[in-house]
């Protein structure tokens, strides 16, 4: 058997292929898709030419509508038309604002997640977001003529781990290759910063439909550092709509509205708000289902009075972010406005007043996040070898529960990611063989005031005197801001070891149901896609292993080389065969990909070592020269 396979000439001779990558701004109110075409970031349009796709899904009796289609059904079918679903991501029923009236039929009032009864069965926020993302993915395929190789999805910087996990999972459920979750303000700064290529300190004020995010970033020598993030996950443009809606009810002495009327008035209130950005006063009129006519004129001054409290509330996170970054407001070079809600004059004035300078608004505030995400996706997928890097931080502290319901912080907020931190704990009873580990996120000192992310038990601790065992709990946050936790008993030779990924507020059964649902929906379609994806993945890994072998086969011993070659052969044969049955063929390919991954694990490690040694050697020489 040949020890080394040489790539076929046509494989090695391919010029660098341009991979299509997209950035998705998955917003509370609207979503957008952007891509980089011939070096220029652009927002993609749907068939009707619209760039802003309402983040709305209608579960009709015979069809699923997303975006503008679904928006049209909002008034006539509010119970099955899910809007602002992002607010529910990774949240439990207890997290909902009791003052807000939703037109939905909530299923179980579960602690850990929100479920809504629709005509198409029970839906949770992840499934609904996946439906929106699928729609956006199709839009991209239609517009670009090919499947995107990778996608960057933006999330509010203030999203906690459960919310991030939920978002990433929704992307995977929609069949997307999620390269990265990117904080929205960071995306905005990328869109502006890379335009100007100027070093400086930016503050991003992002007021979207449902959330407020404030981030302070520094661009220096091609590295974007996030200095601090702050915000309010329960404050956004919707609250301004809601405030106006309540005001309309008050002024017109309305109460006990039907769901349809509520939806209608909310939609109208939003429109009035938007018009007030241009006009001094707006006439409001609506006909309710009782045939009652509501007529009202609202002036800008009136509006600004009723939302004054909300505007002021948005300034608090600014101060906090400055404080965390240890900066004065004079040290901010530019203020960037993001999100449709920053069109409100009251907001622009308040921010201008606070900083004593007008904020940047040259890029459309609705599009700036998607554009930044598109640029980042283009870089990550390997189209652009930019000497430019993003160093993000974790927005909330992560800790572990200790005796007495107290939180011991392991990773403090605003730590640069990726990050690994470990802390040692011990047993408190003689002969204790198990320890329960409770992972929490938040700034408060008591467990009950923080968000519970995961609980697991470390078993198999050898019996020892209390205080003798050394249990190391380590937290790892990756570049997406996602957490994994390990607990390990260190003193004895025996090490018990467990790894958890925090749930996104869904239990296994629900995840199973969701997967089932997504498969039964369009089973054939999905199988075809999964098969195709398996082939694409297989080609990618074959390509990279073969290239690696050409470069570094000398790092391997004979057995390793044989194993890798064997795994390559198996995989090559599998992808050449005509599939008899798509599902099993896809599965087989996946299995072989996994085998090849396993066989080449050690190879990757050796290559990394080599690369690093070379880099270090290079550095030392440089140092001597200096």
């Amino acid at each position: 058997m040949a020890l080394l396979q040489i790539a076929e000439p046509d494989m090695s001779g391919v010029p660098h292929q341009h991979n299509v990558a997209i950035g998705i701004d998955l917003g509370t109110t609207n979503s957008l898709v952007a891509t980089v075409k011939s070096g220029e970031a652009t927002v993609l349009c749907d068939t009707s030419g619209a760039k802003l796709i309402p983040s709305i899904v209608n579960y009709g009796s015979d069809k699923l509508s997303v975006g503008h289609e679904a928006l049209k059904l909002r008034v006539s079918d509010p119970a099955n038309t899910l809007v602002s679903i992002k607010r529910f991501m990774g949240r439990g029923f207890a997290d909902l604002d009791p003052d807000v009236v939703y037109p939905y039929k909530f299923a179980a009032k579960s602690e850990s997640n929100i479920q809504i009864n629709t005509r198409q069965g029970v839906k949770n926020p992840v499934a609904v977001s996946a439906d929106i993302l699928s729609y956006l993915r199709n839009l991209a395929v239609e517009s670009l003529g090919e499947e995107p190789a990778g996608v960057v999805i933006t999330v509010p910087a203030y999203f906690d781990d459960a919310q991030r996990q939920a978002t990433k999972y929704a992307g995977e459920l929609a069949g997307l290759n999620v390269l990265r979750l990117l904080n929205e303000p960071t995306a905005a700064a990328i869109a502006y910063g890379l335009d100007n290529k100027q070093d400086g300190t930016f503050l991003v004020y992002d007021l979207g439909g449902g959330t407020l995010d404030v981030s302070i970033l520094r661009l220096n020598q091609g590295v974007f550092e996030v200095l601090s993030v702050s915000g309010d996950t329960q404050l956004g443009g919707d609250d301004f709509d809601h405030r106006l809606y309540c005001y309309i009810l008050e002024k017109s002495n309305l109460s006990q509205l039907t769901d349809e009327d509520t939806a209608q008035l909310l939609t109208r209130a939003k429109l009035v708000k938007e018009q007030l950005a241009e006009k001094e006063k707006v006439a409001f009129s609506a006909v309710l289902s009782s045939k009652r006519i509501v007529n009202l004129t609202i002036t800008r001054a009136e509006y600004e009075t009723i939302v004054k409290y909300l505007v002021q509330k948005t300034l608090l996170p600014l101060k906090k972010a400055l404080r965390d970054a240890k900066l004065d407001k004079e040290q901010i070079d530019e203020v960037i406005m993001v999100g449709g809600s920053t069109r409100m004059l009251a907001i622009r004035q308040a921010v201008t007043e606070f900083f004593g300078r007008a904020p940047l608004t040259s890029i459309n505030p609705d599009e700036v996040v998607a554009i930044g995400a598109g640029i980042q996706a283009d870089i990550l997928v390997g189209n652009k070898k930019d000497d430019w890097l993003l160093l993000d931080v974790t927005p909330l502290s992560l800790g572990v529960e200790t005796m007495g319901g107290l939180v011991e912080k392991i990773i403090p907020r605003n730590s640069t990611i990726p990050v690994v931190r470990a802390q040692d704990f011990t047993t408190y009873k003689d002969g204790q063989t198990a320890m329960s580990v409770h992972v929490v996120q938040g700034e408060r000192e008591l467990v009950k005031d923080c968000r519970s992310l995961a609980k697991f038990t470390l078993r198999g601790i050898p019996p020892m005197v209390a205080g003798q065992a050394r249990i190391r709990i380590s937290y790892q946050i990756d570049a997406d801001g996602l957490l994994s936790v390990q607990a390990k008993e260190m003193t004895s030779g025996v090490t018990a070891h467990i790894e958890v990924k925090p749930s996104y507020g869904l239990n296994d059964e629900q995840i199973g149901e969701m997967l089932q649902a997504s498969i039964s929906h369009a089973s054939e379609d999905i199988q075809q896609r999964q098969y195709q994806e398996a082939i694409v993945d297989a080609r990618a890994i074959l390509d990279s292993v073969e290239k690696a072998l050409i470069a570094d086969a000398d790092l391997l011993d004979e057995t390793e080389l044989k194993q890798i070659n064997h795994a390559c052969m198996k995989l090559k044969i599998a992808i050449e065969q005509k599939p008899v049955e798509l599902a099993s063929a896809g599965q087989k390919i996946r299995q072989f990909v996994e085998d090849l991954n396993l066989a080449s694990d050690n190879f990757a490690a050796k290559r990394m070592d080599k690369a690093i040694n070379q880099a270090l050697a290079g550095k030392e020489i440089g140092d001597i020269d200096n």
Binding site: K320, T416, S544, A605
Partner: protein, 175 residues
Amino acid sequence: MNNELLRQNYFELFALKQDYQVDKHELQNTLRRLQKQYHPDNFAAEDAEMINQALVISSQINQAYTTLSEPLSRAIYLLQLHGINIDLVHDTKFSSEFLMAQIELREQIAEAESNSDFDVLERIEQNLAKESSALDQQIGELFSAEQYQKIKELIKQLAFYNKLEQMVANILSSM
């Protein structure tokens, strides 16, 4: 995991002289240079194993940076390299003079907090920062004089001041 980079101590990793005095500017520049090489985003197109290695190395670089950039963690780390470990949790022996001063400070903070007195809290914050930087200075001098045992006491005090500073900052940012 088996490579040279992870075996280096933080000073070596950042190509710095093993000394308490570090140039913050240089530290930042080195962070950027290292992360440009090892951050997982540079390996986004590579296989999972490669990305994972990068994740570990990149985390280590961040950890080194954080440790070296703050006086308290830098002092503890440097002392450790000299073979002296500090147990901040259990080693709570302090002079009664120091303890009294701490209690008094805490009372002042609690009082200002209950009065929501922003100005007083800011003044306390400035005073704490002054104390910390004085300790920072002394620790630096003792490191130069290689009087490591004496440093231990000062580090414990610095930890106290840092904690209070954090406390005041939290109160201020939630006001």
